[in-house]
Symmetry: C2
Subunit: 240 residues, 2 copies
């Protein structure tokens, strides 16, 4: 059910396929990048490689964890992200393509991204994974409706079953509570991550010849994604 | 069904609860460390921590993998080992104990062991994981029958569902085929691992006051485990 609190004030703006930004948009309102969406195989491959990279980042956080309880929680989180990766690889196999071959073109940019967002210490590492994976999972979920219907359903389930965020949030909160100076350092780090994360998302989109038009269509989506990013920061008591 | 090709020649030796060593022993013949077995919680905790350590080693191998196909295969292997770990942690939770707390006493020795057996390069890393996890999983499986029956059934299934070995063997064979000098270096490495691996296994056993008697009971078990180790080396074309 689509219900708009802003219905009375709603007006058509420059990009006619887009609804005005709302704080709480319904899923249907979010599907507005359809004809800019990547093809099925590259989409699955990019998301699969991204999840593999997130898994690797989490395993580094497992190795560097200061307590066995943290190691334990993060390894469970890593397992969930790995399951996403394997689910996507399984979808690639169903398409009769070689997953490694299809993922390869996305590896350099994503590896570079993981390096940039890896952080200088364990807490930055955790915040980096949490914020970038949060942002990009959000973004990829918005492209899912452009997939063939049955596949879309499966991929949506794959991308949404993830409790890894809870584990990371709990560990970050613990750290911030124990050392309040951590909050300001993490806030700076969290703000720094947004730019690079947006670039990865944009790289997944098909741009047309009309750049200005593309930007007008993309802008509200990214505004939404950034709002979600700010909520993640807020939840941790960090100023976005 | 227990059937012994050596039935005619079978004779009782020094340790009356032990059957003589056979090349292909049946499961029932292997259960001979019962009263040296650790208590349930420490057993589950040690194996759980060991599987977590194997998972961490495998994730290092994922990160260092030279190809995306290798990364892909090894991440699947890591996922299987992680599932073992989580299955054991779930059993610890059923016992109403804190898994992290129970695993903690085993961490220093196992961490040290993983460091010693980590290898100096990717292939040594792979061989290290394969041989040490093979040896110790074998060993732990032999202690399973001393657990309460229902638990024993579940733990046995947990410890046996693992295709990670196949992936590693395939990668090692590929490497040895591409560079035949690798075989002799890996053979040296494989032989070096046996001593430390045995020490980890022995540390799990309850020793009595009668050291000589203990040794007589342990010896045939370790002879078996070493024979299995040699078969793993042979399969890779390495001289044990």
């Amino acid at each position: 059910m689509v219900f708009s609190w802003f219905g009375m004030r709603k007006r058509r703006v420059v990009a006619p396929t887009l609804k005005p930004r709302q704080e709480k948009v319904e899923r249907e309102d979010k599907v507005d990048l359809k004809d800019m969406s990547p093809d099925v195989v590259p989409f699955l491959a990019q998301v699969a490689y991204f999840e593999l990279a997130v898994f690797e980042s989490l395993t580094r956080a497992v190795t560097a964890a200061p307590t066995l309880a943290a190691k334990e929680g993060l390894s469970a989180a890593a397992g969930e992200v790995l399951a996403k990766h394997h689910g996507l690889v399984a979808e690639l196999r169903k398409k009769k393509v070689d997953p490694a071959e299809e993922m390869a073109p996305f590896a350099p940019a994503i590896d570079k991204f993981e390096e940039l967002t890896g952080g200088r210490n364990w807490y930055e590492m955790l915040l980096g994974v949490y914020l970038t994976a949060g942002f990009l999972d959000d973004f990829f979920v918005r492209l899912v409706p452009s997939l063939p219907k049955a596949l879309a359903g499966r991929v949506e389930i794959l991308l949404e079953t993830d409790r890894s965020a809870e584990v990371i949030v709990a560990l970050l909160k613990e750290g911030i509570e124990a050392d309040p100076t951590l909050a300001s350092r993490l806030a700076v780090w969290g703000r720094r991550l947004v730019g690079d994360t947006q670039l990865v998302a944009r790289s997944a989109l098909h741009m047309s010849d009309n750049r200005a038009d593309d930007e007008q269509r993309i802008e509200p989506v990214f505004t939404d994604l950034i709002a979600a990013h700010s909520r993640r920061m807020d939840e941790l008591g960090l100023t976005a």
